[in-house]
């Protein structure tokens, strides 16, 4: 049997590769970055919502399952540059430091993932101009490494705000979808801050809280156990105050129907999920259709979310839309099973 190509080494790709190996199928696992684990590893995710489990406890077993499987041929810093269809399967050209050239594969799992929204595009929030306006993907690393200090002066912040839906649910920037995890991750970050530093005041500015399903528990806990405060309404612009020492968040409290101006030491932007660069490239490379949002579209999103509609190409994880890690892992398993069936013929 020719190996199954798994493109992408994030949670979905790692899960698919491990699952395929457990079924006895040879796997060719290709990742363009120089590490396994995708975005969670890239940004050093701290605890994971909603169970506040350290990200390592989820990522490390995934990676070690893959590394311990002799059936999996792994390549970091490697990309697929060309694809040709065969009567059954594909011929793919790999480019990387360890391996280059054409390989035959029996089927393909695309687990090419997402990119975080570039918050500079919402210029009114001053990200990239004011050092204490931080994207929440960077904030993950800060709490993970226990360096909760203001980039501008190294002091411990006294009051932090989270602003949800930055680059999500926003027709203006062309991203009308919900990122699904921004609410939970922001609330989780506020809880982590309050766990370590109960003296820090934490506010979450929201227009809706979407801690869907069982994740709602985190939302309630954040209020009644950790004292996180919620303000219904968005910050519309961020400026500097007190000679650049603090940030001034101008917004509307839409429950009181009053404009508000609050000084903060740090403001964290919950940047949304966009189709990843790898996902866009894969769509072009394999000639797959993308939806109006730019994500890959399964042929039957209800009945079979892991099949692309093109024989032998299967989809998993955030390549088809914003997704939490457990969902990406599950889809990796589903795609693995379908790819295995296709490879067996």
């Amino acid at each position: 049997m020719n190996p199954v190509l798994v493109l992408g080494g994030g949670p979905a790709g790692l899960s698919a590769a491990a699952e395929l190996a457990s079924l006895g199928a040879p796997v060719l696992l290709v990742e363009k970055e120089e590490y396994w684990g995708g975005n969670p590893r890239r940004w050093h995710y701290s605890l994971l919502a909603p169970d506040l489990l350290p990200a390592e406890e989820v990522l490390n077993p995934l990676v070690s399952r893959v590394e311990g499987a002799p059936l999996i041929e792994r390549h970091l810093r490697t990309t697929v540059s060309r694809v040709e269809p065969l009567s059954s399967g594909f011929r793919v050209e790999l480019k990387g430091p360890e391996t280059s050239g054409w390989r035959e594969v029996s089927s393909v799992v695309l687990a090419t993932g997402f990119d975080h929204f570039d918050s500079r595009r919402k210029y009114e929030y001053g990200y990239g101009r004011y050092p204490d306006v931080i994207d929440f993907k960077e904030f993950e690393g800060m709490i993970h490494d226990d360096r909760l200090t203001r980039p501008s002066d190294g002091a411990l912040p006294k009051r932090i705000a989270w602003l949800l839906c930055v680059g999500s649910r926003d027709v203006q920037v062309g991203n009308p979808w919900c990122c699904r995890m921004g609410c939970a991750v922001s609330i989780k970050q506020a809880v982590e801050v309050r766990q370590k530093h109960p003296e820090i005041d934490t506010y979450v500015y929201y227009m809706d809280i979407r801690t869907y399903g069982l994740w709602e528990d985190l939302y309630w806990k954040s209020m009644n156990e950790y004292g996180v405060k919620f303000i219904r309404g968005r910050i519309g612009q961020i400026t500097q105050a007190e000679g650049g020492k603090r940030l001034l968040a101008t917004g509307e409290d839409t429950i009181l129907s009053r404009p508000t101006e609050v000084p903060f030491d740090m403001i964290v932007l919950a940047s949304g999920m966009e189709p990843g660069t790898g996902t866009k490239e894969a769509a072009q490379l394999f000639g797959l259709p993308v939806g109006p949002e730019g994500f890959l579209t399964p042929k039957l999103s209800d009945l079979n979310p892991v099949e692309s509609g093109h024989p032998g190409i299967f989809l998993a994880g955030a390549a088809t839309g914003p997704k939490a890690i457990p969902d990406a892992v599950t889809e990796g398993m589903g795609a693995a099973l379908r790819a295995y069936k296709h490879a067996r013929g």
Partner: protein, 278 residues
């Protein structure tokens, strides 16, 4: 009938009897509509929802409040673009009527709300539709609100600008605050002179660039007449409308005289020429 039903945001209709015997005044804090006002409110509501621009401007609202954040009027008045859009989207005849009394005139039509809106609503646009309706129906409150702006309105209708150069002075614009007034002194120059020095690239002084030719003025007025703007204004302020017509009549005569003079001069120089009609 329970009092709650008569809160302003919940009352779809009031019968004439109910309007004559106001319920729950202490709760709503506003005078109930008379039967005639109620009829006008219903008509305005119907026209508002049927307006072709409505579907284009009012798309949906997540109530995020970013429009109000950037709104200069919201900083000074009890005004919120978010509230105006909500009224436009889900309000009834009474809520729309209430909003059209004074609130719509707090908007400065800067369109910052539109720029900020993540849903792409045209909030300033829908407010201008409300303003148009309030003028068209000659609402008493609109008359009252617009009364102090007669000079601006006259200029707008006759020459197309809202202010004349002599109006740009601290005395006219108290909201400039002390700095503008102090600045005038510290520059130690006649503000008139300073303003004249601004548009170097076009070699136009502000005085000359503000002058409007009589043809432009007449053409502008003709557009107002044909587009029904003059009729709209007549409903609101008949006296002002008559005055405007007088001003324009004078200009028309002035123009006719000038044209006759021009033609007779031409004839004296070159003999009779074909004249243009109209």
């Amino acid at each position: 009938m329970s009092v709650v039903a008569h809160l302003p945001h919940r009352t779809p209709t009031l019968t004439d009897t109910e309007a004559a015997h106001p319920p729950a005044l202490e709760l709503t804090g506003r005078r109930p509509l008379t039967a005639e006002e109620r009829r006008t409110a219903e008509t305005i509501f119907g026209e508002f929802r049927a307006d072709g621009r409505y579907r284009e401007y009012v798309l949906g609202c997540l109530n995020c409040g970013e429009c109000t954040t950037g709104c200069p009027a919201a900083r000074f008045y009890d005004f919120s673009p978010r509230e105006m859009l909500q009224i436009a989207a889900v309000g009834d005849a009474t809520t729309l009527w209430d909003a059209m009394q004074e609130k719509i005139w707090a908007c400065c039509q800067c369109y910052t709300c539109n720029m900020r809106c993540r849903f792409g609503n045209d909030i300033a646009g829908i407010i201008s539709v409300m303003r148009e309706l309030s003028v068209r129906h000659g609402l008493e409150s609109t008359r009252r609100v617009l009364a102090p702006f007669n000079r601006s309105l006259t200029l707008l209708m006759t020459v197309g600008t809202q202010v004349a150069s002599d109006m740009i002075q601290p005395d006219f614009f108290r909201d400039w605050g002390p700095f503008a007034a102090a600045g005038e002194k510290s520059w130690d120059a006649d503000p008139h002179l300073l303003r004249q020095a601004i548009p170097i690239d076009v070699l136009q002084t502000t005085t000359s660039s503000w002058e409007v030719s009589v043809q432009t003025s007449l053409e502008l007025f003709r557009i107002y007449e044909e587009a029904g703007v003059l009729d709209m204004l007549r409903g609101l302020d008949p006296d002002l409308t008559e005055m405007l017509i007088d001003i324009i009549e004078e200009r028309r005569e002035e123009f006719e005289e000038a044209r006759t003079r021009y033609h007779s001069q031409l004839a004296a120089m070159h003999g009779p020429v074909a004249t243009f009609s109209g």
